[in-house]
């Protein structure tokens, strides 16, 4: 009984209106019982629903900022460019080929020298040919992995360290306004380290014959990528 009354309030019968009074849009078009059968043929209902659906909300533009923004900005920088990713993963691959202690010392040297390069950029010391240096790092490190070059430990650290300066100079200086410099730096270094760890992780396949061939193939891919970036940098 109560349910019927409610339905009648929403969809009053034509006879509820006094004679001569113009019925409202919903009253004119809705037949009692339509709603109960799961059909709503009232255009006004759909018009209101459409209006609610299209009603604009207050814009909540939440640009990443502050503490968390600084950290995630730092994390995303090294992985945002394929040229950097290739070189950093190649460091891990080469380290895995060289074995201990190079496997651990190269990923120690790279972030430290990269931070040094970033510091040079921040204090305004120019490093010529940064983009070319980054591309060449891909070519050379790829070639080292491809050729499975067993370089002496000191030579490999110097080589990786020099290339790291270019990478740091390019990436370490891009802190957005209002973000926390400390957390940006932290995210930047952690992300770089994780890329090396990823390379070392892949490099563990080196203990199998097929894995050794696969690693050299990966080196070839890095080298080709480096050549592409070198071509782009020169052009």
């Amino acid at each position: 009984m109560k349910k019927t009354q409610v339905r009648q309030d929403i969809f009053p019968r034509q006879s509820d209106h006094p004679a001569g009074a113009s019925p409202r849009l919903d009253e004119a078009t809705t037949k009692p019982g339509d709603c109960a059968r799961g059909r709503i043929n009232n255009p006004a209902f759909w018009l209101v629903a459409l209006l609610i659906w299209l009603w604009p909300e207050t814009a909540m533009a939440h640009v990443e900022s502050g503490e968390a923004g600084g950290f995630f900005s730092g994390v995303s920088h090294p992985i945002s460019g394929l040229d950097h990713v290739l070189a950093m993963v190649a460091v891990g691959l080469w380290g895995a080929q060289l074995g201990s202690p190079a496997m651990w010392l190269l990923p120690v040297a790279f972030p430290m020298m990269m931070a040094f390069g970033g510091m040079l950029g921040l204090i305004g010391v120019p490093v010529p040919g940064v983009e070319i240096g980054i591309a060449v790092s891909g070519v050379v490190l790829g070639a080292m992995v491809l050729g499975e070059v067993k370089a002496p430990l000191t030579a490999s650290i110097i080589l990786v360290g020099v290339f790291a300066i270019f990478h740091g100079h390019a990436h370490g200086t891009e802190l957005a306004e209002g973000q926390n410099a400390m957390l940006y730096s932290l995210g930047f270094v952690i992300s770089t380290g994780m890329l090396h760890a990823f390379g070392i992780g892949i490099g563990t396949v080196h203990k199998w014959k097929t894995g050794q061939v696969a690693l050299r193939g990966a080196g070839a891919v890095v080298m080709i990528g480096g050549l592409f970036f070198l071509w782009s940098a020169m052009g």
Partner: protein
């Protein structure tokens, strides 16, 4: 030689350059003790250095760990009390950065210091950062309970990390600790750059 002397003087001046106090005491809603604990968690230059100190103490053995565990929190407490009761202690971000770079470098190089050496370094680090914490708490009208929150958190973190590092046996785990130390140094070098840029 003269140029190098000028560079050195510039570097020292930079380290001693005061910055605007950034008293950022968080209100956790759970009282001043936990506000203090959260203060440490939101101060990366504090906990990064603390991490480096704990790693160094762990690498240098159980004895160094015990001594550092006694020296660092006590020094932090003393420094914080001095900072809380004194007026006009400037915030010196350069010195703060240098402190954790030195500790990180010692970890990365796996320098085997005697226990008293590690404890002294830890104590100096604790005193310095406690002093800055105390000054920041004074600026935020905070009190003794906040200091206790900070120092207790320092003690717990130091204890956990040092104990974890001391118990590491495989060689590669020791290398992983050294890698973490190198990351601390890397962050510190970037921070020196940002200091030059005036972004700290």
């Amino acid at each position: 030689m003269r140029f190098l002397r000028h560079v050195f003087c510039g570097f020292v001046l930079l380290l001693l350059a005061p910055a605007t106090a950034q008293a950022h005491l968080v209100n956790t809603g759970m009282g001043p003790f936990y506000d203090g604990a959260m203060h440490l968690a939101l101060s990366p230059d504090d906990w990064l250095g603390l991490l480096a100190a704990a790693l160094l103490a762990g690498l240098c053995g159980a004895q160094a760990g015990r001594w550092t565990l006694a020296a660092l929190p006590v020094a932090w407490l003393v420094g914080a009390l001095i900072g809380l009761l004194s007026l006009g202690i400037p915030e010196l971000p350069g010195l703060s950065i240098l402190s954790f770079v030195v500790l990180g470098l010692l970890v990365a190089l796996d320098v085997n210091l005697p226990a008293w050496g590690v404890a002294t370094l830890g104590g100096l680090f604790g005193l310095l950062h406690g002093l800055f914490n105390g000054a920041a708490l004074r600026a935020a009208d905070a009190g003794m309970l906040n200091v206790l929150g900070i120092v207790t958190t320092v003690f717990v973190l130091l204890l956990l990390v040092t104990a974890a590092v001391v118990s590491l046996r495989p060689v590669w785990t020791r290398v992983a600790v050294r890698v973490a130390g190198s990351w601390v140094v890397a962050v510190g070098m970037l921070m020196i750059g940002w200091l030059f840029r005036g972004r700290i």
